[in-house]
Amino acid sequence: MTSRSIGEWAFRAACLLVLVFLMLPTLIIAPMSLSPDNYLHFPPPGLSLRWYRAFLFAPDWIDATLFSLQVAALTMVASVLIGTAGSVALVRGRLPGRQAIEALLLAPLIIPPIIVAIAVYLQFAPLGLTGTITGFVLIHTALAVPYVVLVVSAALQRLPPSLELAGLNLGASRLTCFRRIVLPLIAPAVLAGAVFAFLASFDETVVSFFISGTEHKTVTRKMFEDIEFNLSPVIAAASTLFVVATIALMVVANASRMASKPQKN
């Protein structure tokens, strides 16, 4: 019994260490953002909100943030529509080559971002899509759809097909069945997928780095530039704000996914 509990404690300690290792860089950013100094220091020599003010009142930071939010919102809408429709087709349809389509849909999760970025840049540049909101939304949607497909098709798989058959049998069209039976039951998963898609876009760095223009750049690209030229604590301030917002969104997404799980066994 004691040996087992020692093993258990060792295991827990190991887990905790890994967790700390993963979290530390993120956690260290927060105190660093409060530095009154011109450079990134840890620990900070004092406390001030100077860099938060610098971030929130600088037009170039505001523009980049608003642009990223806009791209993320449009990406979210597009990938939820495509991802949900795709999930229905994959889970419920009788598609020939279903597995190939599924693999293709999920490919962006596996392909290294830098490969995608270079390919997209080479395609977008001659078309004049680099530095445009259309270009960003197009490629971010392609990258975000897999997240929506993963969550939504899992929810669809849990839904007994007999519910839709019952709906049809009772006189509803396929569309009505989807709207009145399927959608309400998978809504939490769709919401979770929406949050993932939003974050996937907002957080996307590599492709954004390549296709940003001088006028339209994402906040991730802006941060890169800033690191290269200034390395001021404004980056830490921006990061801290985004981390807090992301955590809040993830809590929503998770609560939503939990609600979609069947309550009884």
């Binding site: 007994p160 007999s162 519910l163 058959l165 019952a166 709906g167 049809l168 049998n169 009772l170 006189g171 509803a172 069209s173 396929r174 009505t176 009145r180 039976i181 309400p184 039951l185 309550q263 009884k264």
Partner: protein
Amino acid sequence: MNRGIATRNSGLSVHIDGVSRRYGRVTAVADVSLQVAAGEFLSLLGPSGSGKTTLLMMLAGFEQPDEGRLLVGDRDLTHVAPNKRGIAMVFQRYALFPHMTVAENIAFPLRTRGIGRAERDEKIRNALAMVKLDEYAARKPAELSGGQQQRVALARAIVFDPPVILMDEPLGALDKKLRQHMQVELKQLQRRLGATVIYVTHDQEEALTMSDRVAVMNHGRLVQLGFPRELYDRPADPFVADFIGDMNLLPGTITAASGSACTIQLDGGLAFGIAPHPLVAGAAARVAIRPEHVVLSPARAGAPGLQGRLTQTVFNGGTTVILVELPGGTMLHASVGTRSEQAALQPGAPVVASWAPDQAIVFSGFAPPA
């Protein structure tokens, strides 16, 4: 005032005409033809995998037959979309919409038909009263017991006055007591509604007690269609004989056959006369005899019948089953009243088994492996 369910139009006939359905190499339904009369309660009975569900799915429009036609009344439904067929289906696992209340579930088919609020509410009330769930309109399905969920599924199926109701093992998930209770209620409800019901079950007792007629299926084929009594007394083949009720099936060979008398020799060596039969001498055959038709008596010299040895008695409540070993090892089951003299026979006792000749049915050949 009391319109709706009480004064509904009655059921429509169903005509299944040469219907087949194959899945790759498996023939799920093989050339089934069947006429169901308006207002009839017909069961599709067969072991698991015999094609009952597939046939029902084709009637509901969820599966398309490879061959044949399906008609309800005069209307050919073969190529009609499932949501345009107007016939109801009760699913094995009820398929209630979990996010809707009982009332909303029952309202669903009324809404899709564009029935107005006032009429809808009245129909829901009537349907709930029919299944004795008046108090439960505002509950969610998850807050109901299995039996209550079953009733809601039933109410949802009857609320739009369908002329035909399909049911796929609707009582399969209930425990035995509740199932028997629901069998009676379901049957009463069907009589009151006058709807045609096609009822799928693998439980022969259920089929016999509830149905006007029973269609027995095996390997996708319709093997016999008849009244319950007919299936029990005159099974068309050894499969039906064995599947419906208990049956002794004794393998043997016809040894003598003439116009007026036949003799069969069981594999164990026993020979006895049977009613005239078209089989020729030398043909393989099986004798089918119901356990309740077997008469047992203590062995006496010269007593007519099959000599055997009692091996076991099994108490079943009102009846007792007696197992008799015939020479050659064939086991014969006899069912006798628990209070009868025969039930008091002890294991090991030599006995004589006999039956009235017209109660033995003779089948040619051997049953194909199940």
